[in-house]
């Protein structure tokens, strides 16, 4: 199989314009005759469904939640980047492109990233027109803040709830289309298989989570916008229902899965407090605008932070990275937090935390200004920890947050399976090996509002799509496979709960495939995961019936998929012996302990082809070539 990225030729800045012109169109009167399935209603799925509905396609939209407004995009706090240069501080599309591709440690496609930077400005305009209440200056202009990995202020925000407001904007647009009848919304539905007919994605099998019925839906194309796989680690900042199932089932039907080892560990999360904890809570990266990160200079210093004088504090990010200081990218901040904790200088009861201190900012700007900027985050921290960040520093530790890897897609956001398009976090395309803060919202909305309307039209207009119905044997086969899997899970009646098995998998992944990885650990993980999978199928306990609301059955199905997927993640991490971005291989580091890339060997996207559970997948390489930027050792010093 050869992977064709379908990147248009010509100068970088003209590629997208030319591609749009060269793409075929679907006549407005014909669009309603074409059905498009969109799975997921986060920023990518919601914006795709609404913009395709506006154009007049017959859109079927699916989500696992009880409402399309609840997808996990809603939890994004800090903001969304755009190259508006409203601050006159040297920003440009070129610079956003450069920062993003450098931030991704030169493991993303130039053309995709440039398009993302171009579209960023349209996103802000569209969202303002929708009534998204972005933060404003006193003169009525949009306000900006800085985020990690950038030396300009280009992040637009709505207090600490930017994801919520952008998602509600997309949701409301989509509900407008539901009212108009162009979008049919199916809530409480979980996609459990992709239906492929004559080599093309033509439908999905869903389970109705209220009645338990399996349902068949047919379409001319399928768009997956089902998010990332961070909950493979059990504890993460993701919502508890976030899962890899839809993407994994598509992978098992032939879609390649790219760069699964590129996982992002967010540096500022509230540390783990107990064994029964169900998730970790992120504190926005924006806090690093004003908060200073430090640990005691001396290992084992257990004094209260207030009793440690400045001379005995190590503001290690400011010391090591003077030009970016506390605003280094996430991977750099996370690795440094781990490193000081490994030195025995971590704080809090567990010793697995660093301080994020607002003392100086409150002194400089006053409590009211800090409250206006971060009030809701401080309140959230207080509720969870029972400590007041206005009077003592926050304790922070890295946690799994975002996954750069995902289903392989070309420039048109189409996977190697014709008709299957993948949007947002679920694809692999734009963030390389590390995503910069405030770029996930940007990518989700760029894909849904501005890319898919063009590329999907081209696919539909240039592809013969013979009429098929849900009576086709491929639907029957897929439904029977789903039914078989559900029956098998229910028939085990063992003694271990899905949560216990998920937690055990998560600990293994965090220990061996987490913030820093080495060959021995990865091999241990690869040996252990199949045993855990076997344990699941021999000994899982799922009481109840398949034909009603059974949350434990839903959960068990997702855990079963993670027990297959985790093996691919670990294998990808093992094969990539270089360090890059969020993937840090201990064997490959510079003398200063920074990630050491190996461009000669690894300047490619690793796209894996499924060959059966427990069978080694086939690796396909998409070579990454850089015409406009020169890959160099990233430096934030």
């Amino acid at each position: 199989m050869t992977l064709d990225s379908k990147v248009p030729s010509g100068p970088l800045a003209d590629k997208w314009d030319r591609h749009r012109f060269e793409s075929k169109l679907v006549n407005p009167a014909n669009r309603r005759r074409h059905t498009v399935i969109v799975v997921g209603t986060g920023l990518a799925g919601g914006s795709a469904a609404s913009s395709l509905g506006e154009l007049g396609y017959n859109v079927l939209s699916f989500c696992i939640h009880d409402s399309a407004r609840r997808a996990h995009s809603i939890a994004a706090q800090g903001g969304i980047n755009a190259a508006k240069n409203y601050q006159n501080d040297g920003d440009s599309i070129q610079r956003l492109f450069y920062d993003t591709i450098k931030g991704g440690d030169y493991r993303a496609r130039e053309a995709n990233v440039f398009r993302l930077a171009q579209l960023s400005v349209n996103i802000i305009d569209q969202c303002v027109a929708q009534g998204v209440p972005f933060a404003r200056e006193y003169g009525g202009q949009l306000d900006n803040r800085s985020f990690g990995g950038a030396q300009v202020s280009r992040t637009f925000y709505a207090r600490g709830q930017t994801g919520q407001q952008l998602l509600l904007g997309a949701y409301q647009s989509m509900m407008r289309q539901v009212e108009r009848g162009t979008v049919s919304l199916f809530t409480n539905r979980e996609m459990l298989d992709l239906v492929v007919i004559d080599g093309r994605a033509r439908g999905i099998i869903c389970r109705n989570l209220i009645t338990g019925e399996l349902e068949r839906y047919v379409a001319d194309a399928v768009c997956l916008a089902t998010g990332g796989y961070g909950t493979a680690y059990y504890l993460s900042t993701n919502a508890v229902n976030s899962n890899v199932t839809a993407a994994w089932r598509a992978h098992k039907r032939g879609a390649l899965f790219a760069n699964p080892c590129f996982t992002q560990i967010h540096p500022t999360c509230i540390p783990v407090s107990g064994d029964d904890q169900s998730k970790l809570t992120l504190m926005s990266e924006s806090l690093r605008n004003d908060g200073r990160v430090w640990v005691p200079k001396n290992a084992g210093d257990k004094r209260h932070p207030k009793d440690i004088p400045d001379s005995e504090r190590d503001y290690y990010l400011e010391r090591k990275y003077p030009s970016f200081g506390n605003l280094v990218p996430r991977d750099v901040a996370s690795r440094n937090a781990k490193s000081v904790c490994d030195d025995g200088r971590g704080v809090g009861e567990s010793g697995l935390a660093v301080y994020l201190d607002f003392r100086d900012a409150i002194g400089r700007l006053g409590r009211d200004t800090i409250a206006a900027r971060y009030g809701n985050l401080f309140e959230m921290y207080r509720k969870i920890t029972d400590e007041d960040p206005y009077s003592e520093p926050m304790r922070m530790y890295p946690a799994i947050h975002y996954t750069m890897g995902g289903l392989w897609v070309d420039y048109n956001l189409m996977s190697n399976l014709p008709g299957l398009h993948v949007l947002g976090e679920a694809n692999f395309s734009d963030h390389g090996a590390n995503r910069l803060g405030a770029s996930a919202l940007m990518q989700g909305l760029a894909d849904g509002y501005f890319v898919i309307p063009y590329t999907l039209a081209h696919y539909i207009a240039s592809t013969p799509l013979p009429k098929v119905t849900t009576d086709h044997e491929a639907f029957a086969e897929a439904e029977a496979a789903v039914q078989g899997r559900i029956s098998r899970i229910l028939s085990v009646r063992g003694s271990r709960t899905p949560r216990e098995l998920h937690r055990e998998l998560g600990r293994l992944m965090w220990d061996e495939v987490g913030m820093s990885r080495n060959e021995a650990g990865l091999k241990r993980a690869l040996a252990r995961i199949p045993q855990l999978r076997e344990e699941f199928w021999q000994n899982v306990s799922v009481p109840g019936e398949p034909n009603n609301l059974n949350k434990n059955l839903e959960y068990a199905g997702r855990v079963a998929d993670y027990l297959e997927f985790a093996e691919l993640l670990a294998l990808d991490a093992l094969e990539r012996t270089e360090s890059c971005g969020g993937h840090f291989r201990e064997e490959s580091q510079t003398p200063e302990g920074e990630a050491q890339r190996d461009d000669a060997q690894f300047s490619y996207a690793a796209a894996w082809e499924f060959n059966g559970v427990g069978t080694k997948p086939t690796l396909h390489k998409e070579a990454l070539t850089f015409e406009y930027v020169k890959p160099s050792q990233r430096s934030y010093k």
Binding site: S67, P133, R136, Q141, V178, F450, R499
Partner: protein, 248 residues
């Protein structure tokens, strides 16, 4: 801590329900309420019994998925807190805690503590948006919006759609939810074009969904996990009257 739970169990939408009693030992005060329920459910699964069904997702108080009555109060005793952000340190060793689903005609119970809130979506569908298609939006800074207006709009827009306002209201009114969206868009220049049609359409849909009328008791504001102000309902009523009088 030892916690005694009295939990509404109902197998399906048409099945009869009843209160069941469970006791959980070794509850840590640092656990969230939902993590405590996770532990109870783990115990039930181990015994081969069906776990208590409840909704939750983000577990950081922003998605609006979770919510049930705790001792007769939506989301429990802490002000401005969703149940996923409620911690067991709020309770005492030996407490008896009663859990029931939201109860409202427009929110039928699906199972145990899970209810159908799709009526909220249909209210938004009736007009909770600005009718602008993708493409051609003017520059974001072309329309200056005063900081005060943006802040007021934001205060209303942060409603998470959990349904606590309906659950606590003796009339099961959705006035706080509906008014929050109307007020969000009414405070912004982008919302002005459809100001009149929006309020009429959303209020009519709210009534058609079977929610009761607002009688200004203010319980909704008191239990709202996001502190959405009762003032939004006044704004909605004013907008509605204005629309009926045909003023533009």
């Amino acid at each position: 801590m030892r916690i005694h739970l009295r939990v509404w169990r109902q197998a399906g939408p048409t099945a009869p329900g009843k209160i069941e009693i469970y006791t959980q030992e070794n509850v840590s005060p640092d656990m969230s309420f939902l993590e405590m329920l996770d532990v109870v459910n783990e115990g039930l699964i181990k015994k081969g019994e069906e776990p208590i069904a409840f909704d939750s997702d983000c577990r950081e108080g922003i998605c609006g998925t979770c919510g049930f009555m705790i001792n007769g109060r939506p989301h429990g005793p802490e002000p401005c807190t969703t149940v996923c952000q409620l911690h067991m340190r709020t309770f005492n060793d030996g407490d008896v805690i009663t859990l029931e689903p939201w109860r409202a005609q427009a929110f039928p119970v699906l199972r145990d503590l899970v209810v159908d809130r799709s009526a909220f979506d249909r209210i938004i569908q009736a007009g909770g948006y600005t009718s602008v298609n993708v493409g051609g939006a003017p520059d974001g800074n072309a329309l200056p919006i005063s900081k005060d207006s943006a802040e007021q709009a934001f205060d209303a827009a942060q409603c998470i759609g959990c349904g606590a306002c309906v659950a606590t209201c003796k009339n099961a009114s959705a006035a706080l939810f509906t008014s929050a969206k109307i007020a969000h868009l009414a405070h912004l220049p982008q919302g002005q074009v459809e100001r009149t049609t929006r309020v009429v359409s959303m209020v009519e849909r709210m009534d058609a969904e079977g929610f009761g009328s607002c009688s200004n008791e203010g319980e909704c504001e008191a239990v709202c996990p996001k502190g959405i102000s009762l003032g939004n309902i006044a704004t909605m009523n004013r907008e509605y009257l204005r629309a009926l009088l045909g003023k533009t």
